[in-house]
């Protein structure tokens, strides 16, 4: 994994969208795969990708095969657009590349598959995202609150959360 | 036969070395300070709770009640009210309170103050039995200081 980020991005896009979807960095559609290089000095990652929610497991598998480690995953509540963004951060322990994968799910139906099969470390991160945002990771073995009380049914990081 | 014996000896020697180290420490004087009887000097920049600075000339507060500190405070624990008195060029505070129970001692208020009217006090042994003791009225504190110490140069 010593290739420069543009190669990695291209390879990633090709692997996830074999039918040759455009790797256009401009505002990607919700169901398309795209990957592009970003300026590390400004963003703190070398390249970013956007995948549809159904393909996050495939994306995670691609990163796992390349030897990346899952840094973290987190949600962002875009209440104005009625969407929830889930950002997966990866780092490579040997070649030091950083990559982020984004996906968006509708806010009223925030469901996406779990990547804890690929990265067991995602288990806790997904539990955290679940309790904070109400994201549902289908197939997760143990989707209960991690940091909040075990009976918590509220999601504090949702923008419409009022205590 | 040789190696296990040597291992045994190295292990045993490592224990003796450890005992030597602690014994050397045993004969050295204690490093602690017996707190209530002796205290360490408080450093110059020590961040205690905030207090008002007196104008060396007038003996009044330097505060102009601009509320910068109130706005900068992350915990919202400062309340400032001020009026412009007759004949004064600038406003002066009528209320200046700190809810020290919520203060996180970050120093943002001291940092933003345009007239350098705030500083950190050097009170450190802050323990009390009731909450009310830590709703600090800084104007009162300033008056008390003025009454007890005639020169503003003396420390709090």
């Amino acid at each position: 994994m010593t290739e420069p980020p543009e190669h990695q991005a291209a390879e990633f896009a090709a692997a996830l969208a074999p039918d040759g979807a455009p790797a256009a960095p401009e505002r990607p559609g919700p169901d398309s795969v795209s990957a592009h290089v970003v300026e590390f000095k400004r963003r703190g990652v070398h390249w970013e990708a956007h995948v549809p929610p159904a393909q996050v497991v495939a994306a995670a598998r691609w990163f796992a095969e390349k030897g990346f480690a899952l840094d973290t995953l987190t949600g962002v509540d875009w209440i104005a657009q009625g969407e929830m963004e889930v950002v997966y951060d990866f780092f490579h322990p040997h070649t030091f590349w950083r990559a982020a994968v984004r996906t968006r799910v509708p806010r009223d139906h925030p469901e996406l598959p779990t990547v804890s099969e690929v990265f067991p470390g995602a288990n806790w991160h997904e539990r955290e995202a679940h309790e904070f945002f109400g994201l549902r990771f289908t197939g997760h073995p143990h989707l209960t609150p991690l940091l909040l009380p075990e009976d918590a049914d509220f999601h504090p990081l949702r923008k419409d959360y009022a205590p | 036969m040789k190696t296990p014996l040597r291992e045994l000896w190295t292990g045993f020697r490592s224990l003796l070395t450890g005992m030597r180290v602690t014994l050397t420490q045993f004969f050295k004087p204690p490093v602690t300070v017996p707190y209530p009887y002796a205290t360490l000097p408080i450093p110059e920049r020590y961040r205690g709770h905030i207090e008002l600075v007196r104008d060396p000339e007038t003996g009044m507060s330097l505060c102009v009640a601009c509320k910068s500190c109130e706005k900068a405070c992350p915990s919202g624990c400062i309340v400032v009210e001020g009026i412009k008195r007759e004949g004064d060029k600038k406003k002066s505070p009528t209320v200046f309170t700190v809810d020290f129970t919520r203060c996180s001692l970050c120093g943002s208020c001291v940092e933003v103050c345009p007239t350098e009217a705030l500083r950190f006090s050097r009170r450190y042994n802050l323990a009390g039995t009731d909450r009310e003791a830590y709703f600090l009225d800084l104007l009162k504190r300033l008056q008390a200081q003025a009454a007890s110490t005639p020169t503003p140069a003396t420390k709090a």
Binding site: - | L8, L15, G18, M19, V21, T22, L23, Q25, F26, K28, P29, P30, V31, T32, P34
Partner: protein
């Protein structure tokens, strides 16, 4: 030194009780002061000069606490355990030779009695741990039993080695044999067995293990098992376990002094007396404290490995060596 028997008995019972009580209390002080100095702290300073009244304050605190028997615990055994742990230590004092004529009950089988009573305290800890109905306590109790079984063997092997040299079980007699200067102490009897110092080290290690002292404090293991077998004990129940630990240390160190370090004998051959015994005893106790505040705790299986794989083979070796040397060198 010829008091009528009942008075003699009363004097020694009182003496032993006072000695044990004072020792247990002030060894706590010594331990705390010692630990403090090893750690560059002053230690207790508040109660009395140099904190000398601290043990009394501790005792008052412990006595004023409620004795709680946890629900579901075996109340009888739970209450019995502190007594069982204290009694054998007290009994052993009967045979300790403090001076040439300062023994409560000189016995021809004194050493045997000391060793026999010395191993009862494991039963007390087992009782206490089991009766507490606490998971930590039970784990601790199980550990203590296997630990004590493992260390009883090298301890006895070492004692047998010594017995072959002395030829007697009478502790006073053993000390008497070591008169005439430090080169005649058993630990330095290199012509009988060049490995005598090693034997002493093994004895000392076993002593630490038998009294559950650090680095073998599996029974308490506060960072793993909270307070081990004593987790559920409050107030003086805990205090008695605590005192018993120190009483056992005194007994162990006194035995080591008598067996290896010449008891009341002066190292220069003249001026022997009880002072020498106490000096050696407290030096050994200081070493016990010193070791506790120097080393981390051993791993549990490491402790068993040490016993079964190192100490027992070596003590068997010294036993064999001594018997061979005794057979061929001294007719």
């Amino acid at each position: 030194m010829t008091l009528p028997e009942p008075y003699r008995l009363a004097a020694f019972v009182l003496g032993a009780l006072a000695f044990v009580g004072l020792n247990a209390a002030y060894l706590v002080w010594v331990e705390r002061k010692g630990a403090a100095r090893f750690q560059r702290r002053p230690g207790p300073t508040e109660v009395g000069p140099e904190g000398l009244l601290q043990p009394i304050a501790d005792a008052i605190k412990l006595l004023s606490k409620q004795v709680i028997v946890p629900p579901g615990a075996d109340a009888l055994l739970f209450r019995l355990a502190p007594a069982v742990v204290m009694a054998p230590a007290l009994m052993t004092f009967a045979v300790l030779p403090f001076g040439a004529h300062l023994t409560a009950r000189p016995m021809s089988v004194g050493l045997l009695l000391a060793v026999a009573f010395g191993s009862i305290n494991v039963m007390a800890i087992l009782l206490g741990g089991w009766a507490s109905r606490n998971k930590y306590a039970i784990i601790s109790a199980a550990r203590v039993v296997s630990q004590n079984v493992a260390y009883e063997i090298p301890l006895l092997l070492v004692v047998i080695t010594l017995l072959m040299i002395t030829g007697t079980l009478d502790l006073s007699e053993i000390v008497r044999q070591q008169a005439g200067g430090f080169w005649r102490w058993n630990v330095f009897k290199l012509w009988v067995n060049p490995l005598m110092p090693v034997t002493f080290v093994i004895f000392f290690i076993c002593l630490l293990a038998e009294t559950n002292r650090a680095p073998f404090d599996m029974a308490e293991a506060e960072s793993e098992l909270v307070a081990g077998a004593f987790t559920e004990y409050a107030g003086m129940g805990f205090g008695v376990f605590f005192m018993a630990e120190y009483a056992n240390i005194v007994v162990g160190c006194a035995l080591a002094t008598a067996l290896f370090l010449g008891g009341w004998q002066s190292p220069f051959g003249i001026g022997s007396g009880v002072g020498w015994f106490l000096l050696k005893l407290y030096l050994l106790i200081f070493t016990v404290v010193w070791i506790r505040w120097t080393f981390p705790r051993t791993q549990f299986y490491g402790l068993l490995n040490l016993s079964w794989k190192i100490l027992i083979p070596i003590s068997l070796g010294t036993l064999g060596l001594t018997s061979v040397l005794l057979k061929f060198i001294r007719p």
